[in-house]
């Protein structure tokens, strides 16, 4: 090879590399080194999605190591508190949407308001998730995915009992009672399995009758779970639970999918992704795959659906992170169209943008539809404390076990909510 030709080849190669790099938006050159620590929650992103994001990121930043650590929901707040108090918290963390306000208010999260435009689909993010990321008009996280609850039911048991999915709360009761009678010989049978502490499945009943958890006027919160509409919703629910459920009245929903897979349950109120747990070959029963259906929780007004809690997760960047730009880039990949589409098709969740919701098919589409009528918990930094103090869970347990009456239990809970939210 003569020198001239060599020079030409090198020049071409350099040009090629330069063009390839031209697409990257930020100042990142690909020479950065270091470690990016990411905390994702158990069950959020399928492994293939995480691997895909890492591969795309690695292609641009071959010298950066990405550590994706999976956290458990049960003890994550304690872990986050400890991590944020230390000097090296994770760079990126998935936060349940009810937790963001607490950490944003405490100064743990980076204000990314000025970067909003650089994230793909930021114009079409789900409103409720964007709201959960917004604290005092500043943006502290990027919506990740949403989840809403609907009723998962056994189509075969419905067919055997000759009933159709109900379209009102009264019908839910009558369908449930038919199922209870039809399966009367099974002492473990629940038409609607409802563990006592399952607050997020109880909230739709409260909201449907016009009740609420708390209301805000100015900066002051007032507990509303004891107002007459809230009580009406809880009375309706108590009635359903006492007649249709043999679930543990003091238990939580953590094991409801395994219980459902045992075959003695006709309906559960569940998130879309729980279908995967029910049919999991190890934890559940794969033969149920073709026997599952879903319908939104019906309203007491026939033909309408009850408002559901829009759960979900956001992705935040730690204020103490040493790698802000890299963190934004990794986060942008996971929150962008390519991997959000996979989250929908592989993970079965509701994506962070309305532009991709139509990708949902089958059962996930029903959950996505149920999310259209959705509500959120009081957006206060202290809300997480109401959750961790188990105020609403304890209230439900008292009601279902008959330890206190609905008026007494709700007014005690309402006082606590008022105190905690205003503290």
């Amino acid at each position: 090879m003569n020198p001239r030709k060599l020079l030409f080849t090198v020049a071409a190669a350099v040009a090629l590399v330069a063009t390839a790099c031209g697409g990257s938006p930020t100042t990142s050159t690909g020479n950065e080194t270091g470690t990016l620590t990411v905390w994702l929650m158990n069950g959020s992103a399928p492994q293939s999605v995480v691997d895909g994001v890492n591969a795309d990121f690695k292609a641009k930043h071959p010298n950066v190591t990405v550590n994706v650590e999976i956290q458990q929901w049960s003890d994550v707040t304690t872990k986050l508190d400890t991590a944020f108090a230390g000097s090296a918290p994770p760079d990126i963390m998935e936060l349940g949407n009810t937790l963001v306000a607490k950490y944003a208010a405490a100064g743990a999260l980076q204000d990314i308001s000025s970067k909003k435009g650089s994230f793909e689909n930021s114009g079409t993010w789900l409103q409720s998730l964007t709201d959960s990321c917004t604290y005092q008009k500043k943006l502290y996280c990027v919506p990740y995915y949403a989840g809403s609850r609907a009723i998962i039911y056994r189509t075969d048991l419905f067919a055997a009992a000759g009933v159709q999915p109900p379209t009102s709360m009264d019908q839910l009761m009558s369908v449930g009672q038919t199922l209870m009678t039809k399966n009367g010989s099974d002492p473990n049978f629940s038409a609607l399995y409802f563990p006592g502490k399952y607050w997020y499945a109880a909230a739709p009943f409260v909201w449907d009758f016009g009740g609420d958890i708390a209301t805000q006027s100015g900066t002051k919160w007032t507990g509303a779970i004891n107002n007459s509409q809230s009580q009406q919703g809880l009375t309706e629910l108590q009635n359903l639970v006492s007649k249709l459920s043999r679930a543990d009245k003091t238990g939580d929903e953590a094991k409801q999918d395994q219980a459902f897979a045992q075959g003695h349950i006709a309906m559960i109120i569940a998130n879309g992704w729980e279908v995967g747990v029910i049919t999991d070959p190890k934890a559940g029963d794969p033969t149920l795959k073709d026997k599952l259906g879903a319908f939104p929780i019906p309203s007491h007004n026939a033909g309408q659906t009850a408002p559901v809690f829009l759960g979900g997760s956001d992705l935040g960047i730690s204020a103490k992170s040493q790698h802000q730009a890299l963190a934004e880039e990794w986060l942008g990949l996971l929150a962008g169209s390519k991997f959000q589409s996979q989250m929908v098709t592989v993970g079965g969740v509701i994506p962070n943008t309305t532009s991709l919701v139509s990708l949902s098919t089958g059962l996930p589409a029903i959950f996505a539809a149920a999310a259209k009528n959705s509500r959120f918990t009081p957006n206060s930094p202290n809300w997480a404390n109401v959750e961790s103090a188990n105020v609403l869970q304890d209230m439900l347990v008292s009601i279902f076990t008959g330890k206190s009456s609905i008026p007494a239990a709700t007014s005690a809970a309402s006082d606590k909510i008022t105190t905690i939210l205003n503290s």
Partner: protein
């Protein structure tokens, strides 16, 4: 060896003139302190520092923001005053005290019984029994509690199944934790189960020290077994009993895992013992000041209890000297 050699050299009287009075004073007065200094510094580091931090934290308003910025706000004794008005705290305190008394009592009763049994059974049975005790003791507490949790499970628990099949009633779907008294009974079973091995082996070790002749003499004089136990065994074992009762009190007043793990880390307020309350306030509600104040009260109560133990120990040592 170097340190020991050095020390001996210093303790040895040195008549030489250059030693002087200063050296003498150093050797006689300060040497003991120098010798305990390493242990003292370690204790100060691992016990004193956290304790000091706890006391300081209990006088602070210390929430999440303060935690992340490492900067609290001094509020004096306000955290302690909160407890005066909080009916929840009064419940927690009284439940903790009752729970401790019941658990220490039951642990001691069973442990003493098993220790007496160990003394009387044949060698083979004794080895089997001791091995069983050590195995219980060696089981890490969290997996052990998980096993108990499965046994008392609402839907799939073997306890409900067994009780139903034994014909003691219908225990299908019986919830052991719906009624806090039943729930605490289950927790007591687990705590006592875990406490017995150590206590029984300690008491058994003490029993082997009871002079055989004394017991025989009493028996010849016509003492009944119960009288021998009350008049001879118990007085001789008093120091051992004192130690194990004090330790049990400290452990049982601080019970945490049994409640926390058994109730899936979300115990309802009925199940709040002092430790759970303190943890909940600190790490769940992020009121680290309040949580610390609760911990300080726990320590204060334990100090009062263990003071009796320390005083007795000192007294017994003096008697022995």
């Amino acid at each position: 060896m170097g340190v020991a050699g050095d020390a001996r050299a210093r303790v040895a009287p040195r008549p030489q003139a250059e030693a002087g009075p200063w050296r003498h004073v150093w050797g006689r007065r300060l040497l003991p302190y120098a010798l305990i200094a390493p242990a003292f510094i370690v204790i100060l580091g691992v016990l004193g520092y956290p304790l000091g931090m706890l006391l300081w934290l209990s006088t602070q308003h210390y929430g999440l923001r303060e935690l992340f910025q490492h900067q609290g706000e001094f509020v004096g004794l306000q955290n302690f005053q909160m407890f005066r008005v909080d009916p929840q705290f009064r419940y927690v305190l009284s439940v903790s005290l009752i729970f401790t008394v019941v658990n220490v009592g039951l642990s001691m009763l069973f442990a003493t019984g098993i220790a007496l049994l160990l003394e009387r059974v044949s060698r083979a049975v004794r080895i089997l029994l001791s091995a069983g005790l050590v195995l219980v003791w060696a089981t890490p507490s969290v997996p052990a509690i998980d096993l108990w949790q499965w046994m008392f499970d609402y839907e799939f628990g073997v306890v409900n199944w067994l009780l139903t099949h034994l014909g003691t009633g219908n225990y299908i779907h019986h919830n052991w934790f719906e009624n806090p008294i039943q729930g605490f009974a289950v927790i007591t079973v687990i705590v006592v189960w875990g406490a017995i091995p150590f206590l029984a082996l300690m008491i058994y070790a003490g029993l082997t020290q009871v002079p055989r002749e004394l017991v025989e003499a009493a028996e010849i004089d016509g003492a009944r077994p119960w009288q021998v136990f009350a008049r001879i065994t118990v007085p001789i074992l008093r120091p051992v009993f004192l130690v194990v009762i004090s330790l049990s009190t400290i452990w049982d007043f601080g019970v945490f895992n049994q409640v926390w793990v058994l109730l899936n880390q979300r115990p309802s307020q009925d199940y709040f013992l002092m430790s759970v309350y303190s943890f909940q306030e600190s790490f769940r509600v992020s009121q680290f000041g309040l949580g610390s104040a609760a911990a300080v009260i726990t320590i204060a109560i334990l100090v009062v209890v263990t003071f009796a133990y320390v005083r007795q120990t000192v007294r017994l040592t003096e008697e022995a000297v």
